[in-house]
């Protein structure tokens, strides 16, 4: 038990370390080119003393270490800075836009996982080699399809031609369907592939023969025994899944004209509103690290082999 506690502690500490490093990397990325921030804030204006005034106002005239310290302090308090463009706290800007993005990401995630589980369990290790091959081909195609193009195809088919779903906006659940499906499909491809391969790997192990020799039916075998083995690698993908959904959400929102964090971020990138971009990226990293650390710890409980040395 002590060993287990030590391992959990290690993972938590590692998670914190990575968070800190991520914040540092983001900070360095922003301050990589000295003078740029003043340029951005100055915009088209240019008169003597402007840059100094800007530097003073935004604390840019202090040493880099001081700025870094301030940066970390503010982060610890949940203060994500002030937007250059909108002159508001970034947190407020993001908070208002969070809901539609969460709707999209969560529904896409659930769809992707559900679809992947169904496809993988049905096609894995089946009698005909064809179903496996077709599934594999479809998966690999979806992972090769750019999310924005897929969205366009679905728009043309279902929105323009069939008039089933609205083209853009975020009103009601109908507007959610196409963006969620678009975002989910490439992720489904990856998840399904990983799951199917791990199911097939588990099915070829000797312990499966022992289980069959007890008279257990194929269905029970898969549900009670194999599924647990198959989910193991998927657990490690949890962090990646979140990242993929959030990143894809940016593109999907632009594609479908949905409001949300994605469009805010894009506007920020083009207008070089540094604090906003920084905040979004750090938030995403935070969610990713928390998720991964929790899943890492969960893995310790799921696979008993990891608990002892």
């Amino acid at each position: 038990m002590r060993e287990l506690r030590r391992k959990i502690a290690t993972r938590l500490l590692t998670g914190l370390l990575v968070l800190w490093l991520a914040a540092t990397v983001a900070f360095i990325a922003i301050h990589a080119l000295p003078g740029r921030i003043e340029d951005v804030l100055a915009g088209d204006l240019s008169y003597p003393g402007l840059r100094e005034a800007i530097a003073a106002q935004w604390g840019l005239n202090h040493s880099l270490q001081w700025q870094y310290g301030q940066f970390l302090l503010r982060l610890a308090h949940g203060d994500l800075g002030t937007s250059f463009v909108m002159q508001q706290p970034v947190l407020d800007v993001l908070r208002s836009q969070l809901a539609p993005t969460m709707q999209l990401a969560v529904s896409a995630g659930v769809l992707a996982l559900g679809l992947a589980i169904v496809v993988a369990t049905v096609t894995a290790g089946s009698e005909s080699r064809w179903s496996g091959r077709i599934a594999s081909f479809v998966e690999i195609t979806f992972t090769s399809t750019p999310v924005f193009w897929l969205g366009m195809l679905l728009l043309v088919a279902f929105s323009f031609e069939l008039r089933l779903f609205p083209v853009s906006g975020a009103n009601g659940w109908r507007a959610l369907v196409l963006p969620a499906v678009t975002l989910a499909l490439p992720t489904t491809g990856v998840l399904s592939q990983v799951m199917r391969e791990s199911i097939e790997a588990a099915l070829s192990k000797p312990f499966v023969t022992t289980i069959r020799a007890r008279g257990v039916s194929e269905l029970v075998l898969r549900a009670r025994h194999v599924l647990r083995h198959a989910l193991l690698p998927v657990v490690t993908l949890g962090g990646w899944l979140i990242g993929s959904l959030l990143g894809g959400a940016v593109i999907t929102e632009k594609m479908f004209g949905r409001p949300g964090i994605g469009s805010v971020t894009l506007t920020a990138v083009t207008s070089q509103d540094v604090p906003v971009v920084l905040a979004v990226v750090l938030l995403a990293a935070f969610v990713h690290v928390v998720m991964s650390t929790l899943l890492d710890i969960a893995y310790l409980f799921i696979d008993p082999r990891l608990r002892s040395q």
Partner: protein, 281 residues
């Protein structure tokens, strides 16, 4: 005290290449030819607009139709291959170079260095790749070179982690441990046994990674952060095509199809290589 080994050979018969791999390779060769000698494929200039022939659907003269300002879609797709592929290749090389260096360092050094390097990978992969690229673009500015760097940096963990684990496995392999028996110096053992068996993984990941690099690059271009119109890059074409999607599907569908088939070809070949080298290693 192990299980009784089968006295039959396990592998060695050369099986013919699967159909899919051949098709994928064929497509890529055609693409390369088109990149190098576009005139062979299409007579039109991708930048010249023909106002009289805007938004024509695919016909005998313009096989893939024309876009909003009358440019031939086929030529734009063919010329666009250069941009999308080369930028994708450039990012892959960035990922490869840095990932290889850090990954090898992690896998072949002591525990502390390994932990440190693994944290580097953890940090880089903590950011969703798209957002990380956006961050770098915000910092460095927009443009072709910068999106190549941005996508490249986001792809480092992919190479780094695989090479690190490969290095860890090879390092402990029996053939490496016992190579001292033949009087080889440590350097020679490294060059002759360790390095070649670690680098075996590189072509596999590189092939698969070019595909994701191309998608990422065209994604950033679609968002307007890379090459600017009128450059016929595939992502840019998709952004332009989106505006007229309601009335014309062909300016959007074909560039996207080009991306998909190209990435698919790389993915198919990559997976084939992966299976082949898994058997050997």
């Amino acid at each position: 005290m192990s299980t009784v080994d089968r006295s039959v050979p396990t592998a060695g018969v050369h099986s013919p290449l699967p159909v899919g791999v051949l098709l994928a390779a064929a497509f890529l060769i055609v693409l390369l030819v088109g990149m190098g000698f576009p005139r062979l494929v299409t007579p039109f200039d991708p930048l010249v607009s023909d106002v009289a022939a805007t938004l024509q659907p695919p016909n005998a003269q313009h096989w893939l139709g024309t876009d909003r300002i009358g440019r031939d879609v086929l030529s734009r797709v063919v010329y666009g291959a250069r941009y999308s592929l080369l930028i994708g290749l450039a990012s892959m090389i960035v990922s490869l170079a840095i990932g290889l260096a850090v990954g090898l360092f992690a896998g072949l050094s002591n525990r502390f260095a390994d932990e440190a390097a693994s944290r580097v990978f953890d940090v880089l992969s903590a950011f969703p790749p798209t957002l990380l690229s956006l961050l770098i673009v915000t910092s460095l500015g927009q443009g072709i070179v910068n999106i190549a760097i941005a996508v490249g940096i986001a792809g480092i963990p992919k190479f780094g982690r695989v090479l690190r684990s490969q290095a860890l496995v090879v390092r402990r392999a029996d053939y490496v441990t016992h190579a001292v028996s033949f009087g080889l110096s440590r350097t020679r053992i490294f060059l002759r046994h360790v390095l070649p068996n670690v680098l075996v993984a590189v072509p596999v990941i590189a092939t698969i990674d070019i595909g994701s690099a191309i998608i990422a690059v065209s994604g950033l271009s679609f968002l307007g952060l890379g090459p600017q119109p009128p450059t016929p890059e595939w992502g840019v074409m998709l952004a332009e095509g989106r505006d007229v999607l309601r009335v014309a599907w062909w300016p959007s569908v074909f560039p996207g199809l080009a991306i998909t088939v190209t990435v698919l070809s790389f993915a198919v070949i990559g997976r084939f290589l992966q299976r082949k080298f898994e058997v050997r290693a």
